[in-house]
Every structure is written in C-alpha cells, then in structure tokens.
C-alpha cells in the first residue's frame, strides 16, 4: 500500500465508524445535521474540493462533480425532511471504497505485470585489478570482458571467451528447456546463467543489447492504443456531459409536466432523488479503467509466453486474423540445408563443390552456408573475384580466373546455358563452369518438428486460409505444402514478388478478415510491413526482425503463432465482455433509476461493483499459460 492508500483507508474506517456511532445518538434537527456533517466531510472533503476546482478550471464534467452534486443533493433532501443522512455519507463512502480498491488493484496488477517482464539486469561484473566489481551495465564499453556467475542474468550481448554453462532463456522465449552455451558462442542478454561461470566479451552497448530493446518495446507497447480504447475514450468524453444534462432534465421536466400539464403535485423531492441516483450510476470509471487494463494484462501475459506484441492495436488485429501467409525457409522449415547429392557432373564432385563454395563465399544465405559446409575446407577468398549476386537467381564469380555461375534455372536461362532438370524435391543449384553446364547440386531443407502441429493448431484457432510463399522451386514448395496441409503455394518468388502476392491476397480477402505474414525477419522486412500484421520468428538477436514486425516470436517454434492468436482472442474477448457488461449494467440501472425502481444503494453497485468486477475480469487476460 502506498501512503495515499493508507491515508484513504484510515479516512474510510473513521467515517464508517462515526456514521454507525451517530446512528445511536438521540439528537434531532440541526444538531443531528452538524454531527452527520463530520463523517461526510471526513470521507468526502477532497471530492468536494476537486469538484469546485473543476468548475473553476472550466472542466466541470468529471466524476467528482457527479459525486459532489449527488451527495450534497441527498444531504439537502435529508435536511428538508429531517430524514436519513446516512445515504449521502454511504454513497461517498462506497465511492471512496471503490476508488481505493481500484487504486490498490491497479497498482498490484501493474507491479505483477512489471515483475513478469522484469528481465532488466541491475549490474555487470567487471574484473578491475583482479577483483570483481559490480558496475552499472550502462557504463560497460564494447569489448569489455564481463563475468557472469551462476544464477545471474547476462547483462549485455557478447561472445563467450571462457567457460561453458546451461542458459535459462525462459524470460526471453517462454521456452523452459535450457540451452547449452560454450566458448565461442554468441550469448544474448536477458538469459539466466544456470551452472558454470562465464566470461563474456561484450559486442554491444547495454542500450543496444537485446534485453534493452525488448524492454523498450514491451514498455511502450500499451501506448499504441487499440480501436476499443479509443472508442472508450471518445465514449467517456460524450457520455459524462450527456448524463449530467439528462439528470438535470430528469429533475426538472417531469415535475413541471406534472404541475402544468396534469395539475398534480410536483413531487420535486422524488424526482431530484431519482436524478441524483442517475448521476451516481453513471460514472464511467469501470469502462475507462478496465479496457486498458485488459490490454496491459494481455500484453504482459503474451510477453511472458515469449510473444512480444508491439501494441494493443496489434492485439486487436491479430485476433481478427483469418489468413496466415508463411515464408517457407526458416519459418516452417529449419533453414538448415544439407547437400544431398550432386548430379550430371562431368568433373569430380569435390571439385564442383569447391567451385560452388568459392563462388558463394561472400553470401551468408543458408544455402551458401550448406555448400560451404559440404566443401568442408577453409575457403581461400583470394582465389575469388568479381562476385556478383543476382537477387533471386544466384551468383556469378571468377574462381582462379575461370567464370563460375551457381544458381537456379533462371540464372542458367539468363546466361543462355542449357540445364538439366532434377527429379528430386529440394533446392537445385545449377552450376556452370567456364560457360558450360557442369551439373547440379541438390540441397534439401528439413521441416521444423512442430510445423505440422502448428498448421493444425492454426486451423483450430479459426484460421481459414494458409498460404506459403517461397523463393524456392515449385517442386520443393509443393512437396512441403502437401506434407504440412497448406492450402495455397506460390513458389519461385523474388523478394519483390512476395510483396505483390501479399497485396493480391489482401485485395481478395474481405475487409474484416485480417492477413498475417510470418517470416524470419531477415529479408522479409517489406512484406512484414505490408501485411495487416507482420510476425517475425526466431527474433532472438535479430534487430531487423524486431524493427520490422508488429509481433515478435522470441523462439523459432511455429506453434507460438497459434498461441499468440489464442492469447489475442482471449484478451479481446475480455475487452468486449467488459465493454458490454459495464455499459449494459449501467444502462439497465439508469433506466431503473429514472423510473424510480433503483435506489442509491443499487446505484452504488452499478458504479463501484461493476468497476470491481470489470477490473477482476481484466486481470484474467494475464493468465495465458494453458492456452
């Protein structure tokens, strides 16, 4: 509890005690009024002051004014009839109890959610003069050697120079299985070192490290407001003045009509009481607090599961997703390629691989890496010159002064070299050496272990259409798609074609159904930003993915896509529940209040009770473990 909350709690208890105590005192008339004024002022003085200030600053329509008018009105009626003062005090009391509870609950959930996302390291151990000292990670320069002991968080990205250990990455990825790390491995900040002492040479500043980027992203996520939040804000802005004017109308019109039109008694007291009840019911706080809180809890729960959603608005879009477009390599397949076979080669297989490896030596594409791996020897870059990468086709280069071309069939067509098709499903790298066709290398990729389940889970989560886009050959693409159960395949696409395909899909789908694109974030940036919602996978350490995507999956598991959708659906469902529940109950109570069925007590429930229920409901969005 904060100081403010403690003070409020004391005021609530004192006022309640006084109110009950005075009930047993035998006074009447003005003495009684003055006595009851004490608890009223104890509990309500700040509200009255705020209401007065609001009028002074020309911002009159807030809940303080509603409360002030309602309770002063109730007091006045009580003085007039020498009746029940407890009602006015009770209204104020319950309002304050509600406010107190709200502040407590929000403060607590704010702390809970922040703790959940608390991956911020507090210090880094640096060896100074042979002794380990704890320094602020902000002050550690690039290239410094830091020491991470078992149980500590890795504070800054770097490379392990000494030691080996198991890392707990669950705070980053939601993945509970620990990872092994040894000398020479890259290590990402935010992991927890579990077993051995590690020495790390930092490669980034703290501000540029993974952990800082993620924190920044998560903390700013709830600032991007969703449509529902904007709706509520606008709603509240119109709603409060509307209610105040209706209350005035309710207090004045019916008595006048009765007096003038029907010649009956005006019954001012009854109608003013009804108008005051109306005012108490109408406070918009349940809506205004519970909607952002639901989103905040949803975002917190998602990030705990290793899904970073960059804003409440994306939560909303994700929940409406009906079509998911995948990139193949690195998303559904592991992107770890292996050379399977070499066909139609005239020269020695090894020699051909050597040429291929040298020609592709400048590329870090997974296919190039697999060729380099198959070659298995140090690559002497001085033997290669004039390397030209032709995007979507392949490379040409001079190796030992001989022209070598390595790429797909398009590259061969481009060079005017006849090529031989392969009957294997896989990525085919055609080779031309010195202008002559020299055979092809078959490289194949493996599906991710969860890819099939992921497709099933997505369908279960209500996705109607699954599309795969790939730069790979049609044969491979169709093979993978059939195996996984994907509806539509577009193969042999250049990066620019992918954008075009996504645009076609966007044009075809109905307005309300959203399209998500899932990629590994490295070369998919344009598509990620073009789709309704861009999801990047395996983002640990990849800055490009974090920048370009709207949703970032921290590990490579495609199953997380379905999980993210389920989390967003739950969150949005809670948001709508709260909107309907709060507005619905309020409207019903408003009507009951206007016709005189609801009294002040029901009015207090409609205000405070609804808010408490809505806040508790909002917190449910945090629990996403079993989704």
């Amino acid at each position: 509890m904060t100081k403010k909350q403690k003070k409020m709690l004391a005021r609530i208890l004192i006022a309640a005690a006084l109110m009950i105590g005075f009930h047993f005192l035998p006074f009447s008339g003005y003495v009684r009024f003055v006595l009851y004024l004490i608890p009223y002022l104890v509990i309500g003085y700040d509200i009255l002051i705020k209401a007065a200030k609001g009028i002074k600053n020309r911002q009159p329509f807030d809940e303080c004014l509603l409360m002030a008018v309602a309770t002063i009105g109730a007091m006045a009626i009580a003085v007039y009839e020498d009746g029940d003062y407890t009602e006015a005090i009770a209204v104020m009391l319950f309002y304050q109890v509600g406010e107190w509870f709200q502040s407590y609950a929000v403060g607590k959930s704010r702390r809970n959610i922040s703790d959940l996302m608390d991956i911020r390291p507090d210090y880094a151990n640096v060896e100074i003069d042979g002794k380990l000292e704890q320094v602020d990670p902000d002050e550690v320069e690039i290239g410094t050697e830091i020491v991470v002991q078992p149980g500590e968080k890795v504070p800054i990205d770097g490379i392990i120079t000494e030691g080996s250990s198991t890392l707990n990455t669950s705070a980053l990825t939601g993945e509970s299985l620990p990872r092994d790390a040894a000398e020479g491995d890259e290590i990402i900040s935010g992991c927890i070192n579990m077993t051995g002492v590690l020495k790390i040479r930092t490669t980034k500043e703290f501000g540029e490290s993974t952990v800082s980027k993620i924190l920044d992203l998560v903390e700013n996520a709830s600032s991007r407001k969703s449509k529902s939040e904007e709706f509520i804000t606008k709603f509240a802005r119109i709603y409060t003045p509307a209610v105040v004017y209706s209350a005035i109308a309710l207090a004045v019109l019916p008595p006048l009509v009765r007096m003038i039109g029907m010649g009956a008694a005006a019954e001012w007291g009854t109608w003013i009481y009804r108008a005051l009840t109306f005012l108490v019911i109408s406070c918009p706080c349940a809506l205004v607090i519970s909607i952002p809180l639901s989103f905040f809890a949803g975002l917190g729960g998602a990030s705990n599961a290793g899904v970073l959603v960059k804003g409440s608005n994306y939560m909303e879009t994700l929940s409406q997703t009906k079509c998911v477009v995948f990139d193949k390599t690195g998303t559904l397949t592991q992107g770890v390629f292996e050379v399977n076979a070499v066909h139609h080669n005239k020269m020695d297989q090894k020699k051909l691989l050597e040429y291929a490896a040298l020609a592709e030596s400048a590329s870090s594409h997974p296919i190039s890496r697999s060729i380099q791996k198959a070659y298995g020897q140090e690559i002497d870059r001085s033997r290669v010159s004039d390397i030209q990468e032709i995007s979507g086709n392949g490379v040409t280069a001079l190796v030992d002064g001989i022209a070598v071309a390595a790429g797909n069939s398009k590259l061969m067509d481009r060079l005017g070299i006849p090529w031989i098709d392969c009957h294997h499903a896989g990525t085919i790298i055609h080779m031309a050496v010195d202008g002559e066709y020299a055979g092809h290398i078959v490289i194949s990729d493996i599906e991710k272990p969860h890819a099939k389940e992921a497709v099933k889970a997505l369908r279960a989560a209500g996705i109607e259409k699954l599309v795969m886009l790939t730069g790979d050959s049609r044969k491979v693409a169709e093979h993978v798609a059939a195996d996984l159960g994907i509806d539509e395949v577009h193969a042999e696409l250049l990066p620019a074609d992918k954008v075009e395909e996504v645009e076609k899909l966007l044009a075809k789908k109905p307005q309300k159904a959203k399209l998500a694109f899932v990629g590994d974030g490295i070369n998919d940036a344009p598509v990620l930003s073009r789709a309704d919602i861009g999801i990047a996978m395996g983002a640990m350490g990849s800055d490009a993915a974090i920048e370009a995507a709207d949703i970032v999956l921290m590990d490579d598991d495609p199953l997380k896509i379905a999980k993210a959708i389920r989390i967003s659906k739950k969150c949005i469902r809670i948001v709508y529940e709260n909107i309907w529940f709060a507005i619905g109950i309020k409207l019903i109570c408003l009507v009951l209040g206007a016709v005189g069925i609801a009294n002040m007590w029901l009015a207090i429930f409609a205000d405070v009770g609804v808010m408490i229920i809505a806040v508790l409901n909002a917190i449910r969005a945090l629990f996403v473990k079993n989704l």
Binding site: Q59, R110, A236
Partner: protein, 72 residues
C-alpha cells in the same frame, strides 16, 4: 524529438484528460499518456524547447486534473 516522462495520476479517465491537455499545449506535436505504466510520451514540434514546453504541459494538466504530477 520525443521524450518520455514519469507521471503520477490516480484514475484512467484523468490520464485521458491529461493526454488531451498535453496535446493541446503549444509546441507539442503529439502526446500519449499510458496509465498502466504511468508514463507520458511527448513528441515536440521543431524549434521548441522541451523544458519550457513541459512546464506549460504540466500547468495545463494541473488545470484539468488537480491531482496529477509530471516528473520533469
């Protein structure tokens, strides 16, 4: 230029009012108040001094919601 400030405010509706007040202040291009993290992100217009503008923002916020604070 964008800056983030810590704020203190009790209710979500008040936070919305602060946002409106901050947006209406001269020199502020855009402002977002996040009630859940108790932060205010302010984007300033070119050629305005952030410190001076923030004093105004604070004054305007106090006007709409007496019980708020912006930590400058």
């Amino acid at each position: 230029m964008k800056k983030t400030y810590k704020i203190d405010v009790d209710c979500a509706n008040c936070a919305n009012k602060m946002e409106q007040a901050a947006k209406a202040t001269a020199g502020v291009k855009d402002a977002v108040v996040n009630f859940m993290t108790l932060k205010m992100n302010v984007e300033f217009e070119e050629g305005h001094d952030a410190k001076a503008v923030m004093q105004e923002v604070r004054k305007n916020c106090k006007k709409v919601e007496d019980d708020c604070e912006i930590f400058l």
